[in-house]
Symmetry: C2
Subunit: 203 residues, 2 copies
């Protein structure tokens, strides 16, 4: 019984490694089972399809990042602008951790899957939408606080949060395209500088 519940976690772990370091289409159920050390029958005990496993993988990483990186980055102990800065640092640090483990710059587990599947897999798209809404919402609340505290000029915080998250996805694409972690760090620091420029405009 312990083995059975362990099998589900191992399959999600295999999905993380194989989907994330290669792609969803490139990896079949057979290879996922082999990598997880789980029989095919066990796979179908937990997941109806490969897509179900992809949804579980997205949920797993959403929970993980929310409970670790995002909670720490959006801590009330930091000023609003420090939180944004910390968020971009945490994106870099998480990619460093993945790099140590998988020996490649992997980018964003959610963005990668959106690029591959969003147009033709609406269930996956809606899951990623909710994850993106979570991050964009946190960025927006932070920008609202920064505006309220007079750290930033009044702005459409919803659109700016969307633009910030797009920028984050973009620097992850660039770092993955170039296989360059240092670029991810440098371009992440620039996000906060963009916002600081608009602060200087009101000063």
């Amino acid at each position: 019984m312990g083995r059975t519940s362990d099998a589900k976690e191992r399959l999600i772990g295999a999905a993380m490694e194989l989907f994330y370091t290669r792609s969803y289409a490139d990896v079949g159920v057979q290879e996922l089972c082999k990598h997880a050390g789980v029989k095919k029958g066990s796979f179908y005990h937990f997941f109806e399809t490969k897509q179900d496993l992809a949804l579980a993988f997205l949920d797993h990483w959403w929970t993980y990042l929310r409970e670790t990186r995002w909670e720490a980055a959006f801590s009330v102990d930091l000023t609003p602008l420090e939180r944004i800065s910390r968020f971009f640092e945490s994106v870099y640090e998480q990619n460093c951790e993945f790099h140590d483990k998988y020996k490649q710059v992997c980018g964003c587990p959610f963005g990668n899957m959106a690029v591959e599947l969003s147009p033709h897999e609406p269930i996956v798209r809606h899951k990623i939408d909710r994850i993106f809404d979570d991050v964009i919402g946190r960025l927006q609340v932070t920008l609202d606080e920064a505006v309220e505290a007079g750290n930033l000029a009044p702005m459409d915080t919803r659109e700016t949060a969307l633009a910030l998250w797009a920028y984050c996805e973009g620097i992850l694409v660039m770092a993955k395209a170039r296989q360059d972690l240092d670029m991810l760090k440098r371009l992440g620091q620039r996000a906060v500088r963009f916002l600081q420029v608009s602060r200087r405009t009101v000063a």
Copy 2:
């Protein structure tokens, strides 16, 4: 004989449609041949592997975008900031054209492939590097001119060009993730506003 040279173009056309609307891993040589109406023997006459076709597809789109969209956007008839604005508009317009054809928001043909293949296909990665260097170089020259003309504050134009291109890739990821062309338009307009903010700082 006419048929034979036509076959190569039809294979590149099939690669455009199938790689771009789905993914590289999701489409095999057999399906590419069927879609192009070309026999497998013909495929291997022109391309040693599926990867060779991917490189030809990247070259084809690089040439197309350079000769049409990019030449027009980076025209010397426009002011430097108008060129950047025009470039982001052209990214939106090109995606509208793809949307009419393929009924989906497809994102960036280069960025998509970078996300899928860059870590483990160095030949593809180097091709995409050269394409990215081309665009980033055009953006940098434009920023240099804008700084020289006093339209923008002095800055590290190389890093800003890199950040602008990352932002462009990011809004393409977002638009694809959400299947939302209007978002691509709105976030593209914001790129120029970011730069205009820094112009106001010097004014």
